[in-house]
């Protein structure tokens, strides 16, 4: 391989790196340029005073507050479903699973992880129709269905991180407790999990981030353009990513568009913060284990 080709290749890789950095830079600066001027309390609260809105004394109609509240409530509810099932499944797969069944479990969970988000949303929608027809006339796509569907979406993240973290423990850690007479369950619950806590938490944080940003699932299971703060689990609600989607094509005025940019910055901020936190925790764990056998 002659010198020229070699230099060509090196230059090529540098160019790709620079282009990517440029693309991300353009994206961020555009967003900030357009969005920062819009960041003020009226973007969030509209014409209602902030205290009135926060204490739920008055409804907010022109602002992002309902969407922000909707997203936060959605995240909390989905996580409540997903964490117990996810961590428990992860523990089972790492510690108790029969070698014979493992490939089947793994296959099913990998398919679940790879399913497009809209398919999960379609599933949630199908469930709501099913319940509507067979259970009660009052059930239709709503907050509850959305949070269940989102939980299904993020379950693989939690299961995988839990399973991996438990599986990657150094042998010495795994067996010390057992050697001292603890039962398998005691060992897992009281020794292994606390040891691995940051890793499991990083998986949970990743799941939270995914809940915050997902649009396709909620679009099919109950989010609407205007609904105020959800008062019951069977009601419809608003959410930030859907607001951005809706505003991007349906804006009626420049200020609505500006609100869209403001919402983008908020969403970007939330997600980036969560993902970075998750990565930091993952790194902390990796460093710790680098010194063990």
């Amino acid at each position: 391989m002659n010198r020229l080709t070699e230099y060509g290749i090196i230059i090529f890789t540098w160019i790709t790196g620079i282009i990517i950095i440029g693309a991300v830079g353009v994206l961020l600066s555009f967003l900030l340029y357009k969005g920062i001027p819009a960041l003020n309390p009226s973007m969030i609260f509209g014409e209602t005073g902030s205290l009135d809105a926060l204490l739920l004394r008055k409804a907010v109609v022109d602002g992002l507050f309902p969407a922000i509240a909707g997203t936060i409530l959605l995240i909390i509810t989905s996580i409540i479903w997903a964490i117990p099932v996810g961590v428990a499944s992860g523990i089972y797969l790492a510690e108790y699973c029969n070698i014979r069944w493992k490939p089947l479990f793994n296959f099913l969970l990998d398919v679940l992880a790879g399913i497009p988000s809209i398919l999960v949303g379609l599933f949630g929608f199908a469930i709501s129709i099913f319940l509507h027809r067979h259970l009660s006339e009052h059930i239709y796509p709503c907050f509850l269905i959305s949070s269940l569907a989102l939980a299904c979406l993020v379950l693989p993240y939690i299961i995988r991180t839990t399973e991996q973290s438990l599986g990657n423990l150094p042998f010495s850690i795994k067996t010390t407790g057992l050697a001292l007479g603890a039962s398998r369950l005691q060992n897992t619950l009281f020794i292994l999990i606390p040891y691995n806590f940051s890793s499991i938490i990083s998986g949970i944080i990743l799941a939270i981030g995914r809940c915050a940003e997902d649009t396709a699932v909620i679009m099919l299971t109950g989010v609407v353009a205007m609904a105020g703060i959800p008062t019951s689990v069977l009601s419809q609600y608003e959410a930030i990513p859907f607001y951005i989607f809706y505003i991007s094509s349906d804006y009626n005025s420049q200020e609505e568009l500006m609100r869209g940019f403001g919402a983008s910055i908020i969403l970007l901020g939330i997600c980036v913060f969560l993902f970075t936190l998750s990565n930091i925790l993952k790194r902390k764990v990796a460093i710790r284990f680098a010194t063990h056998t």
Binding site: W14, I118, L119, L122
Partner: protein, 287 residues
Amino acid sequence: MRPFIEKCAEKGLLLSALLSASITIFILSFMLLFSLPLFREGKIVEFLRLGWNPYDGKFGVLPMVVGTVIIASFAIFIATPFGIGCSALISVFSQRSFGRFLRKLVEFMTGIPTVIYSFVAIFLLVPLVREIFQEGTGMCVLSASIILALLVLPTIVLFLTDAFNSVPKNYLNAAEALGATPVQKLIYVIIPSAWKGIISGLVLAAGRAAGDTMISLMIAGNALQIPRGLSGAARTLTSHIALIIASDYESPEFKSIFVCGLILFVFTMLIVLILRLLGYFEILRER
């Protein structure tokens, strides 16, 4: 007392795992359940045909399947050189300064929500593409593919970087001892031995690209046709589902989206099988 609680707890763990695994099966069954009427009526062949025109009673989803394939493939086509280039930069050519920064940037990119990509693209990329082509609305296959490539790039780069880094050190040392330059190491040692990881990363990214909804919904124009070229608008299976969901509950139109769901499910299964064959999951579990 203790053993009893233990037994219960273990059963509880088993139950959770069964629940999680069965979600996949539930999804499949619901798709089948809702598309069953169509299978029964023998209309299924019609669905795999061309032409979607509810007023005429035509419900072919073929244009959407083609749209998905074209947009996803083109996105991977764009993203691969960039992915290989960036990974090479990060793990071979610039392991200290620029490479580390690039890696941090790519990790940062994984956190950017999809809606944000498409939202910004509507205002920045679409007018640009419209001017370049001098025709069309700018909402076309090219725009969607470019943004989709940006979306899946972090997946490719992070995967490839890991694959490059897990080449056994003695291979690299041997090459260096023989006087290889970094480029020669890359081309002759790293890429050949990491090819499985590279292909896995690309397949994973392709799966992600085909399954994405928001970008194709907002940027690809949603026209009901097989795109005539890069500047033609197209519709993907995913955006089709999103668009139709607002319709009737009874009409064949509506039932067709469950067929789309079925197609997507089968597609995901295929991707998972391919990745298994490539040993992707072995690599993942090792890490």
